[in-house]
Subunit: 359 residues, 4 copies
């Protein structure tokens, strides 16, 4: 009921403040008998770490996941799977000067307005460190989906105004992981590098777009009418820090077309239903149609900039602020595994639901 639970059947409950003792969660509802690949999970977690390159904070966060329950002899028991990642190398003193300050476009003010109390150290619960729990939960969901051969691939398709070209069918996990910005191709690397350095020098930040494609989802997943698969994906994506937009298939662009231009006509091939196009992005009426599912997620620039800004403080004073400290220039490459994780959580949930939809 409160907002730290995601999913209905495959559920993730999370907890943790940025500078508390740990971030973690409980996965409840994972079927019994699933083999757990601990290396894979830690690898997923490493993908969201800081200190991955030019664009990221030099802050080193070890972020090792430790499982506390629900797994026995490397297999899930069907019982809740709890895990924690200890917060280390958190310098609370870095935030002492922010104790009474509301940083612009951060959640400082809104948390205070809501709760009348806040953990000011590093954003507390509103910190992006919270996404650690999403990545661990998502990694378990991915292991479940792998048994069905489902593949989830997210990548950075636009950095600020720079579009990164790609051919959807040729995108591979390897190409993305080898690119320094988790882009699907290297063509724009120099342009991006120049942009990032410029922002870094200016104490500024940049946003962009992550695209996600899901392969091999069978037709028939998703629940009418409020829990359409696209609605669940939108919910999942918009719950990620800094996300401001979501679109599926042709998305906003489709609204500029005639129906005759964007309907996905069907035909039979080897007695299988196929589609001549995929403007819908793999979902119709909220239910998967067997096509690739494709969507875009828009991220705003990180709010922590070193430039001077106006704001207010707890003593009701107008003040000026510059946000120093070790911050990323952009969140995009680190957000790729987060987008994938939230996608995996949605799919694991609707997969379980699909098992009880008919006699």
């Amino acid at each position: 009921m409160p907002g730290s639970t995601f999913g209905k059947l495959f559920q993730l409950h999370t907890f943790g403040e940025s500078h508390g003792s740990a971030i973690g969660g409980i996965i409840d509802g994972c079927p019994a008998g699933l083999e757990i690949d601990f290396e894979f999970i830690q690898h997923e977690l490493n993908r969201r770490k800081t200190n991955q390159g030019l664009w990221s904070s030099p802050r080193v966060e070890p972020d090792e996941v430790k499982f506390l329950s629900g797994i026995f002899e490397n297999k899930t028991l069907g019982t809740p799977i709890a895990f924690i990642v200890e917060n280390k190398n958190q310098r609370s003193e870095d935030y002492e000067h922010l104790k009474y300050v509301f940083r612009p476009s951060h959640a400082d003010y809104t948390y205070y307005a809501k709760y009348g109390i806040r953990d000011y150290r590093g954003g507390g619960r509103s910190s992006a460190r919270e996404t650690i729990a999403r990545v661990v939960g998502g990694a378990i969901a991915k292991l479940l989906l792998k048994t069905l051969d489902i593949q989830i691939l997210a990548f950075v398709s636009k950095i600020k105004h720079i579009h990164i070209p790609y051919v959807l069918d040729k995108i591979s996990s390897d190409a993305i992981e080898q690119n320094p910005f988790r882009c699907p191709s290297d063509e724009k690397n120099d342009e991006i590098r120049y942009l990032v350095e410029q922002a870094k020098n200016d104490g500024d930040t940049i946003g962009g777009i992550i695209t996600c494609v899901i392969r091999n989802v069978p037709a028939g997943w998703g629940e009418p009418v409020f829990d359409k698969l696209n609605a669940l994906l939108a919910h999942a994506m918009m719950s990620i820090n800094a996300v401001k937009g979501f679109e599926i298939g042709d998305g906003f662009a489709i609204s500029e077309k005639f129906g005759s231009e964007v309907n996905d006509e069907m035909f039979l091939e080897n007695n299988q239903v196929k589609f001549k196009s995929n403007h819908s992005g793999g979902i119709q009426g909220g239910i998967s149609n067997g096509n690739d599912i494709i969507f875009n997620v828009a991220f705003k620039p990180i709010a922590s900039i070193k430039k001077e800004q106006s704001t207010v403080n707890l003593e009701s004073e107008n003040i000026k602020i510059k946000i120093e400290g070790r911050h990323d220039v952009m969140v995009l490459p680190r957000a790729v595994p987060i987008v994938e994780s939230m996608t995996a959580l949605v799919l694991a949930d609707v997969y379980l639901m699909s098992k009880i939809n008919r006699l």
Copy 2:
């Protein structure tokens, strides 16, 4: 758990197929003692009717709502509020020829893939008639929000490629309702009329964008981390038939900016926290900041076109199809009250939650 329930505290459960005996629902969790304005509710329902003009189907659907419980002497009892709208003037025979056909970009195929059975008459549960229940539920939510002086205004801001100009602070309910397309201004009426007629003559359809602004939401509504207010709104909007995109505040455009361009700086005015800008769209960290909440919703063109399309049928044959019958050219003006209703349902829910967030 299954997908016909929306909300957690202020809940709407809906039911109904297009050609069944009725569409309806239950609102559970509405506080006791709320005065019910039946005329207002019916008026809201009338706003989503067919036969409203050039762009809409000439089909006449009386759609009168009847309440069955939860209201006594014009006040809510705190118990479930059930309502039904009978399906009249539904010509099931119109759909007899579609019995074995999967219409392109409709939910025919996906429902069948999911359930192994479907009510082929008028789309069954996937029909937009389902939104009747959303509008009734939303109207009750609006009555609750009115006691807090909260105003929800949706309008058509783009029709296909035609942007409708507006000044956000000057938008009024009257102007929208008087415009034949529920646009915020009349400037583009001729252009729109020409476009609609053209599409109608071609047997084609068009999409567009609806914008929604919410005034007077206090700071502090919305739940971290998964149930961010923007995530709930995205879920709500993406659950509406034909919606393919959602963005809040500057949305996709914000991803092209530097952080220094789009942070919302704060200042004090009469000891009240104010913002110099509203790029965030009134929500930070998933919690309302007291600013107007603004978002856009992208609708695809209606899938029912009269032009010939390729598709398949239940007998596993490749066939051609033209969708005849009384269909709208665009859904936008009728979708305005639906967008508002889903918004009201989200807000009623987070409002109740906000009452228990602190001691």
Copy 3:
């Protein structure tokens, strides 16, 4: 979230006040493709009607169920199944004199304390007419369970102090239905008849115990740790009006024994796990063990008595009251189908859950 929903996967949402226009509900989550036997459902409903004999009110309530959605050509669609039973022959004027009175041991005072408003006519939402929706929902659940050969048999095992003797394995639906009090045997009929007449003449009421046995539930149903099958059954039974106690297997009596007397030892028979005894009542660790599930439910006497009682009214006065009108002497025989229905709802829910517990 609010309290008019039962179940998680196989859900029943109910609505309706005693003297409103209808009682009804929505069943959501019933798998697609289930054949609906409408006569069976109406027959179940008839079993809970008034005017069934000596012990019951002569009030005639037609109580015909009408389905509004979710069923097509006699099969479930997988979409919500809505139904209503119109309230007819409700004499609201019978209750006019109770408008300002809180009847002792009724919910009049507590509803008013909770909501600050109440529908005083016939108890409003707290009336036993609410159980109509449970019986319809339970009847659909029974149809689902019949496909698995599961049989639910409830019967009146004690009326006030009179124990009705029975041999569990020999109990049949026919014997119960033919007995005028829904007892499993006729041995005590005369004694019961005398007791009922005595109470009736005195304007008094009586309570008793209903026992329920469930046959053919496979081992493995129920969820650790909070949703143990016995906990869900207890929740279900204690939610029925007038129920004051629940016990499973040997229940309260087991607490007087040594462990060595009441452990259920196991052995193999034709390679099947069997139990030498069934003190546990078919559930261990909250999960079914394959044995018959057996439990008892204690009902208090009906609160509406014709004898003079002290009470208070809305004007804060001490007053005397005699409750006239057409009331049952005991609720037990009519409660039998209600106990069965709530049992069926629990089982349908854990059955669906059992389908996703393992890979």
Copy 4:
């Protein structure tokens, strides 16, 4: 959705197997600003420890609770409160010989039937160690309820056949805690001691009854119709290991009375509604009436006995078993804080709900 979550608004999610690395949980929904008394919480936990006397296992379990999130400067933040209790002194090798054995009246067989896999060490998830998380969650709920002056007192009222006499209004926490068996009076101590020693010498176990009284709950808590306060309490109690029965107020005994004997008549005293009796146990129509809430919970004897029993093993053989190891003779005194904790969790939940029931 899966069964390791309790509550809707004040939620407890738990995890942990008996011999895994930790038992723990997350409390989500606790209002912000609640002062946390860590000593009180640890003290509650100590009350459920082993090695408390004659009747309990000499096993020493340190069971220290460590909080990981949700609390800042001794106050709740409104965010999830995570906690763990490490499993120490667990001798897994003690259970090696039970690896392939299903202990009678334990959950070994049913877990295996459900999941197809089980953690055989000490019962895994079905172990009573799981209740550690309930006690910590309950302690936080108690702190919340203390701000409303609500008092929850459970005590052992019957051990096997021995009734412990008490006067309800005179029962105090001190008297209970000082009694070696958590009984409300010392009158039967010798008799109990003799019984326990006898059972211990025989390698046998005993059950009994715990009674719980709740003082100062205002009228108006609890949700019609399925979530009646008594139904939630029954669910909570029946979810505790070894519980086989629940009754509220006069419970099973009330079913033997005439209505005129057990209705709770009302009168006004200083303009307050009072009751002449409390046969209902403080709840009418599922909603608290302001009276003390009283209920009984029946516990079966512990299933682990040292006497020889018949059972089966994973190799499908009939075998004999004696359960050695360090087990309690009875669970009752340790279960007292568990009963109180589950009660507190229920009340915290309905308290929050009561804040949103009316305008």
